[in-house]
Symmetry: C2
Subunit: 344 residues, 2 copies
């Protein structure tokens, strides 16, 4: 069996997450039981939600256990199978975590999904045609319910969710405005992702300033907002929401590391008769097939060309993850893994 | 024609509203044009939303104009009619404002509604069987969508909206918990209004303390919250909301007089996958008949016996209104008017 390198959560962050929270561990992969398959991971997905799970606090999922492999999405291929439905060489997507190999009980519904890489690259199944894409789809289609001609705004605009949001929103005839950090990301959002405008939040030191920029970019106000960050950005957007606006709350990345960031004026929810709704995409599995079909078509046709930030090798995962939390990634953050030597 | 006493908005509040913002004015009622009726008001309704309209600021309605009669709901009787649909003596509900008489273009849809006072007292049409009752109904039925066995919480529990909310929530088989100010109101909420429990927020100086009281009163958590106040109460309730909880935002009375009160931790909207929605009942006229029918039945059958605070005479309206903003009222705040002498 191959030697398997893993990254464990070694200890929980006190405040900001740090590389010292993680530990590289070497193990052997166990022999397969009937029904199981052995998957070699080509890509790990790094996602902001993982930061929340590193805390031992009330959240929507159980905390990441200490001294176990960091949980996360993976794309790879079957290299050994004791399951009739999976053959060696099949490309598969699952939640194998931060390690080179995983043994999967492939009969468990949702544990492993075969994917077609003839028109869509394998890595896209962790981004635009995977959890982040469906996240954008659910927030837009099921919570915001956009109408053609309305104005949609998304924060973390060049990330995996934001990229998919732009393509889905434009496909519905909406003016689509991004908020991102830095001129490169903003240029990319407009030039490559199809945003009508993108605001660099780093140019603004307070909500009032960002609000003025939003007014210029959204002359008819904001009807739908997809919230990934919280804090000052949320405050600024709230003041620009039109009556009966809808806010899908997907992330509060500004919150993960420390003290809560308040919403300065919740009375705007009443004044503008807003709907604000939090959601976790894994609780809405019924919509995934419909969402993945639209997202797959957008990717295969070139209408959604989401950028990827690819860190090289398992050992690079912690730093890449910490960079993601700081907004240093540019597009979907992945880790590419390379085959380990086989042993015994 | 009768001499008409009116209360005008004389100037706008700087910070807290004050009696000096209002001015008593004497005018003559004009002669009726065809289609008009003259209504003598028996009761004025005082409601928190009026405070928002006193500001010259962005809100969901136009500001109350200066040097004009304060806008507001009224219940009274027709004393002169040039409209075939209304006869002298008819009991009617409208929006006559803070004055003894109003001339109403009774042909305008919604301007004047005849009411049956054989089973329901006239004043109830300004409370339980009027705008406040429908407000409770809309928030509960259309936004919170309660299921039997769930736990519902309402702030300003003994007010006109809170009283109706309790009856409607209990009728749906929900554990119903109020938040009110002072032991008298809390006792009344449980003894007379049917609340299962009521928390005196004045016993708590911070959200953490109020949160502990909520935990005791809501051992299974909170599934629906009807928000009338904002501030510390909202913070405390947010931390006790169950997954997929719904919050109807009807008022932020704590906000009206001054600076915005922040929501301390909006990330709870995501963590608990909450829906939070603001609404204004006057924008949902289609539901009024259904809501009024249920509310009328609850009042006529004695299941909803909402308390009233009745100030005596038009001149008492400003102080009664300021008291309402401070929570000094106990139940629906009304002003009872007495006939003025007739003049030329």
């Amino acid at each position: 069996m191959p030697i398997n390198l893993q990254i464990h959560l070694d200890n929980r962050p006190a405040g900001e997450a740090a590389a010292s929270n993680f530990k590289l561990v070497s193990t052997e992969t166990p022999a397969l039981a009937p029904g199981q398959v052995l998957v070699r991971h080509h890509y790990l997905s790094l996602d902001p939600y993982m930061r929340g799970r590193m805390n031992d606090a009330k959240s929507y999922t159980a905390p990441q256990p200490l001294h176990e492999v960091m949980v996360g999405g993976t794309a790879g291929e079957v290299i050994e199978s004791r399951n009739d439905k999976f053959a060696v060489g099949d490309k598969v997507v699952g939640t194998g975590g931060w390690q080179h190999y995983s043994v999967v009980d492939a009969a468990v519904p949702g544990a492993l999904r075969k994917v077609d890489t003839s028109r869509i690259p394998l890595s896209a199944y962790l981004g635009a045609v995977g959890m982040p894409g469906v996240t954008a789809w659910y927030g837009l289609v099921k919570i915001i319910e956009p109408k053609a001609g309305e104005t949609m705004v998304v924060s973390a605009a060049t990330g995996a969710v934001g990229s998919a949001f732009a393509a889905l929103s434009k496909a519905r005839g909406c003016r689509t405005v991004g908020i991102a950090g830095g001129p490169d990301k903003c240029r990319y959002a407009v030039d490559e992702l199809g945003f009508d405008a993108c605001i660099d939040y780093k140019l603004h030191t307070d909500a009032a300033s960002l609000s003025r920029a939003l007014k210029l970019a959204c002359p008819d106000g904001i009807d739908g907002y997809f919230e990934n960050v919280g804090g000052m950005v949320l405050d600024a957007v709230l003041g620009r929401m039109n009556a009966f606006g809808r806010i899908a709350v997907c992330g509060m990345i500004a919150r993960y590391d420390g003290a809560a960031l308040p919403m300065s004026d919740p009375s705007l929810i009443l004044l503008s008769r807003l709907k604000m709704q939090g959601f976790i995409v894994s609780e809405h599995m019924a919509v995934w097939p419909e969402a993945l079909q639209e997202l797959g078509t957008l990717v295969a046709s070139g209408k959604l060309r989401a950028r990827e930030s690819i860190a090289q090798g398992l050992e690079a995962a912690p730093e890449a993850f910490l960079g993601l939390l700081k907004g240093r990634n540019f597009g979907k953050q992945l880790v590419k893994l390379y085959p380990q030597e086989l042993a015994s």
